[in-house]
């Protein structure tokens, strides 16, 4: 059977494998940017897709390579694709010739799974194989030299944190090389969607990254709605904006609490975490869930929310939030630790795939809410803060501005609410459809690509912002010092569950 369906919002171009490098170069020359790459199977035939954005916010470009599971690696030309290719190799069994970093990524050294869980034969029975093995250290190039010390930190580390293993090669205070080994938490989320009812799998999307539940639900729902051509009613669109902006708000307050914690500003940390808690309590009073779960469904919302008086409920948070951000911005001991820390150049941010506040702090002016509007964002006014310096200070400034914008958006969206339905009527079509959905999360670009046949999900690809930013982060650690590490990491605001999936 042929894939007759095409992906929404994309102009698709079929590329022969031997032309791929030349076409990629051509795209780069036209200042396009690669967003993600994933593989799929069309009746045993391998299909690899590369999604790109264009400079002028025109529709996405999709490059499609068919009929081969051995492709030339683009990682040397487009470094951000390095992880996507390694993932397709580990989970799909594809080969990328000439890959500059052909080390295991998702399936660790010491572990194996056969056949590959997203491979050619796995589509028939996604649960046939199990990941097996035992711990072995990562097979990374070693840094050798007089007085070079190695520190393996993790996977169980201090404090209440997500699991990851960090490897530092250092002399004294200076970090020569840093390698985060992630994917201990890999739960095979993409395979879990396969075979499920597309209309009822929002709960899975909500559990990819807990602190991104609402954005994941939104991007997933939009992908299915685009595949099925569903128009979501206006009230639901505005309420969706309110839900994801509440998520942005508590994430940003958490970010400042965590950042102040690393600069040992105790009251500053406590204040940030208290503001986060207040937003979560407000969210639970409004929706019944502190993580804004179980609200979105394909076609709109599962139930109406009484959000008309949100502006009033937010008053205290707006005033205290503003005072808090100003106080942080006037604290020299805090700012001293951020300025010049963990610098990410514009070039690295572009090449390595930085996204969200991290990218905007390095001068990449991108925000899906403005560039490719979804939900009700085209009806709302907001600014996209951008900075040039690319240091921890710039990243925190972008977050601070984005926090203020989130508050303004919440007031604006709640003021626009009019009575109306919150769910579209629809019947899931038979046959095969594909859909692309996206959201600008507090951490950056999130994308879902879905392929559905007769109402059942066949393939779901999740591109999470933390997958992109973890790839970028080590570049800002090499050549810096251990004292700044925690501050730099906090300034990125990464999650591991979203990256590992």
């Amino acid at each position: 059977m042929n894939m007759a369906s095409s992906l929404n919002s994309c102009s698709t171009r079929l590329v022969a494998a031997d032309q791929l490098v030349a076409v990629a170069q051509e795209c780069l020359n036209q200042q396009m940017r690669f967003l993600m790459a994933w593989h799929d199977w069309d009746d045993q035939t391998c299909v690899v897709r590369y999604l790109l954005s264009q400079k002028d916010h025109a529709e996405f470009v999709l490059l499609e390579v068919r009929d081969t599971d051995t492709l030339p690696s683009l990682a040397a030309l487009v470094p951000l694709l390095g992880w996507y290719e390694r993932e397709m190799h580990d989970l799909g069994g594809l080969e990328f010739s000439g890959h500059p970093e052909s080390f295991p990524l998702i399936i660790h050294e010491g572990f194996s799974i056969s056949p590959p869980p997203l491979g050619r034969t796995a589509a028939d029975n996604p649960l046939q194989a199990h990941l097996q093995g035992s711990y072995e250290p990562p097979s990374m190039p070693e840094v050798q030299g007089d007085q070079v010390q190695d520190l393996y930190w993790g996977p169980v580390r201090a404090d209440v944190v997500e699991t990851g293993e960090f490897h530092y090669s250092y002399i004294g205070e200076a970090i020569l090389h840093y390698h985060p080994r992630l994917f201990f938490k890999h739960r095979g989320m993409e395979a879990r969607f396969a075979g499920q009812d597309a209309a009822r799998s929002v709960y899975l999307a909500e559990r990819v990254s807990g602190v991104g539940s609402a954005c994941h639900a939104l991007a997933y729902c939009q992908a299915v709605e685009n595949a099925w051509g569903i128009e979501v009613p206006l009230r639901a669109q505005l309420l969706r904006v309110i839900i994801v902006e509440l998520e942005r708000l508590y994430n940003h307050f958490h970010y400042f609490g965590q950042l102040a914690k690393t600069t040992t500003l105790k009251v500053g940390a406590a204040t940030g975490f208290l503001m986060e808690e207040r937003v979560k309590q407000l969210a639970s009073q409004l929706t019944g869930s502190r993580y804004l779960r179980s609200l979105l469904c394909v076609g709109g919302l599962r139930r109406d929310l009484q959000a008309e008086h949100l502006a009033h409920a937010l008053e205290g948070i707006i005033d205290e939030g503003e005072a808090y951000l100003n106080r942080l911005h006037q604290t020299a001991t805090h700012l001293d630790r951020l300025m010049g820390t963990g610098i990410l150049s514009l070039e690295s941010a572009f090449d390595q795939g930085a996204t969200g506040p991290v990218a905007r702090a390095s001068g990449l002016d991108r925000d899906l809410r403005r560039d490719h509007p979804y939900a009700a964002y085209h009806k709302l006014r907001f600014n996209v803060p951008v900075r040039e310096k690319g240091d921890a200070m710039a990243r925190s400034e972008v977050r601070a501005e984005s926090l203020r914008e989130a508050l303004a958006l919440l007031v604006q969206a709640s003021g626009r609410l009019k009575t109306g339905p919150v769910q579209a009527e629809y019947t899931p079509p038979s046959g095969e459809q594909q859909g692309l959905g996206w959201a600008e999360t507090p951490r950056g670009t999130l994308m879902y690509a879905v392929r559905i046949r007769d109402g059942r999900l066949q393939r779901v690809k999740i591109k999470s912002p933390s997958f992109s930013n973890w790839r970028v982060f080590p570049l800002t650690v090499h050549g810096t010092n251990l004292m700044d590490y925690a501050i730099n990491e906090a300034s990125f605001g990464l999650t591991i569950a979203g990256c590992d999936r």
Partner: protein, 263 residues
């Protein structure tokens, strides 16, 4: 710096005194669904087919809920045509016996063991926790971290997090236990001195749901560690976490027995 001290002092105490008095902070938080068996119509299985984690099954024609698999998605409440499944604010679901999370008509009571009481009394005013993330979605981590925010202020109860398992009395595990975390989790457990206890934190850690059955995921702690408290919830909120901790220390009573929530 003095400015921060001043603003901190001026803001005063933000901590709740709950459970002694004051708010638990969970106003509006939906909990596990309740089953009103009298309203249930026989021959209907909409709640069973609506549940994404297979937490409901039929026993002798009547639905039985395993709260250890419930992710609080509220779908059964929406789908039940008779209103037998009702949404509730029941979230303090920490129990000592896994079987207490399964709905049963006959109320059973479990005698606390003498030894358990002695251990609990020795740790009653000073408990140190080592948390291990065995593959969670990070919502559980976010709620556990929230215990240290000024509102819940866990220290007021004499409970602390410790970086080293060597100093830990309690292992708090989140996530279904993915393959690469299995040995790591056991190594952390082995490193802890006795007496030591375990809380299976969140529905994933209790039963694996909805992350069981995949190629990388586990099925929770049941066959891996001797669990002292089972705490389902997706995620369990900070007050539910405090309840489970105080239940472990015999400072608060268990709310759920035989799958039924006591007022």
């Amino acid at each position: 710096m003095p400015l921060w001290t001043w603003t901190g002092l001026k803001a005063g105490k933000a901590a709740t005194r709950w459970p002694r008095s004051g708010s638990d902070g969970q106003e509006g938080v939906l909990g596990m669904p309740r089953l009103d068996i009298d309203k249930c119509r026989s021959g209907c299985d909409l709640c069973i087919s609506s549940c994404p984690t297979q937490a409901i099954h039929l026993v002798e024609g009547e639905p039985v809920i395993d709260y250890g698999r419930c992710i609080v998605c509220q779908r059964c409440v929406e789908e039940c045509p008779e209103g037998a499944m009702q949404s509730s604010y029941d979230w303090a679901f920490g129990v000592r016996q896994r079987s207490d999370l399964t709905w049963s008509a006959a109320l059973e009571s479990h005698e606390a063991e003498h030894l358990r009481k002695r251990i609990a009394s020795s740790q009653r005013r000073s408990l140190h926790i080592r948390h291990v993330d065995a593959g969670s979605c990070n919502a559980c981590e976010a709620e556990i971290s929230a215990l240290d925010n000024p509102f819940y202020n866990l220290h007021r109860l004499g409970i602390f997090f410790t970086p080293s398992p060597r100093f830990a009395d309690l292992l708090m595990v989140t996530g279904p236990v993915t393959a690469p975390m299995h040995d790591v989790l056991l190594a952390t457990w082995e490193a802890m001195p006795e007496p030591r206890s375990v809380i299976a934190t969140g529905t994933c850690a209790v039963s694996g749901a909805p992350m069981d059955g995949g190629y990388a995921g586990g099925a929770g702690l049941e066959k891996i560690l001797p669990v002292d408290i089972w705490l389902p919830g997706c995620p369990p909120n900070p007050a539910a976490l405090i309840h489970a901790l105080l239940l472990l220390l015999e400072r608060m009573p268990q709310r759920v027995t035989g799958g039924q929530y006591a007022e």
